[in-house]
Point group: C2
Chain length 425, copies 2
């Protein structure tokens, strides 16, 4: 044990000296590693290559998926995603292009430009539109609302989901708050799962805005890392019970099931919203890529097939998560209360929390030694982590060997940043 918090200045200097030497050794290795994004590794991509040999392009309705038409998607693909999203009917689903992110962009754009069926007017015509952002959260969510000029209001994340006292108070008072970003299962970046109470409160809360939308990004709905199949309550069921079926806009995709660059994405929503969205999409698109929909449905078959496929991903991913956590425990725990990290049971990320003011310095040190992490602050609106203490770790892309090197280096950088901070006090 060498608890940094009880060390003398001299001891801190000596420790910093030792670690700086270790850091220089890593630097001399000329590393070039990327732990910045939730990108699957090559081994994971190879799991789905069989998909490419499926040439079933005539749909169950006799429709040739190679030709124009069927904007809402092939019926078998709509049913497939209805099951994944836990929706009762394919009428509540649009199977769109490759990217759920692009669909979220479209849905925010649509609210801003035209509004939704329950909107008094398009959001762009409101005085000052706002969106709730549980923090830490997903940088690309925040980038969309920033791009469309929303004021982003941070709401603290807890292991049970967003702080619902805070959410309820804000949305009850302020009609210019038009929605909230949610990743309900294995949240990005903490890996938290929304509790039953959180989902029920989100579904039933009183909102000043009649057209309040929950963007329910179920990005990791089948991305389990343990034997336990975690789930959340279904937001659509709960919203229907509460009489707010037009509140949720659900998203998922096969990006991290098959191919991130060439998967299939889907929107789930009330029939009212789906009909509205399809009508609004008509000037934009004749149809999305239905051949890819057919390939995916015939390869993965149904949710059971998806879960079986996801076990192969888990076999590759879980050891990587374990390795990172193990190295954190070995390297950082002995230093006392200088850092803690989440222990996700699924998803793609680990949150690493440092002492206040240490995140940017740690990321910069890593970068200088050839290991790219997500920018410090990127999990916060406008890229600003007020405490400069959070780093998102993405263990999927590097090989285990690379990951071991990168994690050890990361720990050294955390230690150096912490020591520097303690020495400034």
């Amino acid at each position: 044990m060498k608890d940094y918090l009880s060390m003398s200045k001299e001891q801190l200097h000596s420790e910093l000296h030792n670690l700086t030497q270790q850091y220089q050794e890593y630097k001399a290795m000329n590393l070039n590693l990327d732990m910045s994004r939730g990108k699957p590794c090559t081994e994971q991509l190879n799991l789905s290559n069989e998909l490419l040999n499926i040439h079933q392009y005539i749909g169950e309705n006799g429709f040739d998926s190679r030709n124009y038409g069927m904007l809402a998607g092939m019926p078998e693909a709509r049913r497939f995603f209805a099951e994944l999203l836990g929706l009762s009917s394919m009428d509540e689903v649009i199977v769109a292009g490759n990217s759920s992110l692009s669909m979220m962009y479209y849905l925010i754009d649509l609210g801003w430009r035209m509004g939704y069926p329950d909107s008094p007017k398009p959001w762009r015509l409101e005085e000052n539109i706002k969106f709730l952002c549980p923090v830490p959260g997903y940088d690309r969510h925040f980038a969309i609302t920033e791009y469309f000029g929303f004021e982003m209001i941070s709401v603290p994340m807890t292991p049970q989901g967003p702080d619902m006292d805070c959410v309820e108070r804000l949305v009850r008072e302020d009609a210019s708050i038009k929605g909230i970003w949610c990743i309900p299962l294995y949240s990005n970046p903490d890996g938290y799962c929304y509790s039953e109470e959180t989902v029920q409160r989100l579904a039933s809360m009183t909102t000043a805005a009649p057209d309040f939308k929950i963007i329910w990004d179920d990005a990791y709905c089948v991305h389990h890392l343990t034997d336990t199949i975690y789930t959340t309550l279904n937001i659509m069921d709960e919203c229907k019970k509460a009489g707010f079926e037009n509140r949720p806009l659900m998203l998922c995709s096969t990006s991290k099931i098959t191919f991130p660059g060439a998967g299939v994405a889907a929107i789930g929503a009330s029939k009212t919203n789906i009909d509205y969205i399809l009508k609004q999409m008509a000037p934009m698109a004749i149809s999305f890529d239905k051949m890819n929909q057919m390939r995916h449905v015939h390869y993965l078959k149904n949710k059971e097939g998806v879960l079986a496929h996801m076990k192969k991903h888990r076999a590759i991913l879980a050891p990587k998560f374990d390795l990172v956590k193990q190295i954190f425990t070995q390297r950082l725990t002995p230093c006392g209360e200088i850092a803690h990290w989440t222990d996700p049971k699924g998803g793609y990320f680990i949150s690493l929390y440092l002492m206040k003011g240490c995140a940017k310095r740690t990321v910069a040190l890593c970068k200088e030694a050839g290991v790219v992490l997500t920018n410090a602050g990127s999990a916060y609106p406008y890229g600003i982590d007020p405490e400069d203490h959070h780093i998102r770790i993405a263990p999927s892309l590097p090989t285990p060997q690379e990951l071991e090197v990168a994690s050890n280096l990361l720990c050294i950088c955390v230690q150096i940043a912490t020591l520097e901070q303690l020495l400034r006090k």
Copy 2:
């Protein structure tokens, strides 16, 4: 010869009686045929099935197209489309999703929402935005500008392209005219090709709007129906010469080369515009489907490969166009000056021009007998053909047998509508 225009009322009645009997016979056949859209037929779709056996997913730059990234497209795909669009560098190309229509929607949306680098302000903040629509034209073009609230100003099409005297006068005077829709080669629906003079005048004309855009929808750039490879002057070359390189936004796709539901689309523009568009796209997309880009490039290889492939389409399509024109000649020519039609050397459509006031009635008669045509007026802004005289014929989808039946029925409907009209006078 039975020239309708020189017939007596009695003769007209007698002719109408005969044709109505023939019409009833067709009606009794319970037809269900579609000549409404430019959809390739099954035989054409089958031409590209080999594409599906291509599993080359690692790019020339070593990038794995199965994973996230490379928003502008794989370099080999960018080069491929640069050649198709006649651009000198892949830096002038974004290879996007499946649909050039979706990209045109995006480009209009972008101008409306944000403006372009040369815009004084976003188009939506202008008093009254307008767009020039050569007529007859493509209904889906007009649907986009209508959706975004542009006032659409009709400009007459001629066999050499839009009436340039009219275009030049309008754009010189009115800064709220932000662009023009163009299909330069084998235009939809007439099949006309822009002359050298037209392209030069479009490229060099003085526009009151500093951010005037030519949407250059090169949908039929390789879709030849004869031995002659028609071309137009390259709009980018001409715009560069005139000092307006940011004026054109070029589009093309493989929709009618490979699979309409699952092809690849591209945007061509000046490097300034491409850089701007990519920056604006960043919140919307991580990347488009690059696996499909790779399949297409490795299957079609280059423009030479595309042209060889298009000969197979021509072998299926040209006889269908010939059949329709032949039946028109046999049935309609003897009736005198009641109709004329275009003789396209490429593309997907024939324009059929009737006596004033006869188009809607003809389309309705066809529909009643089970043959769906594009709605009369659909080739005009707001769906209104002021003379109610134009019908767009799409011969690609039906089989030759179906096409023969449908064309004969169509001629009978034209004759009936014309006789009714003459009897009203």
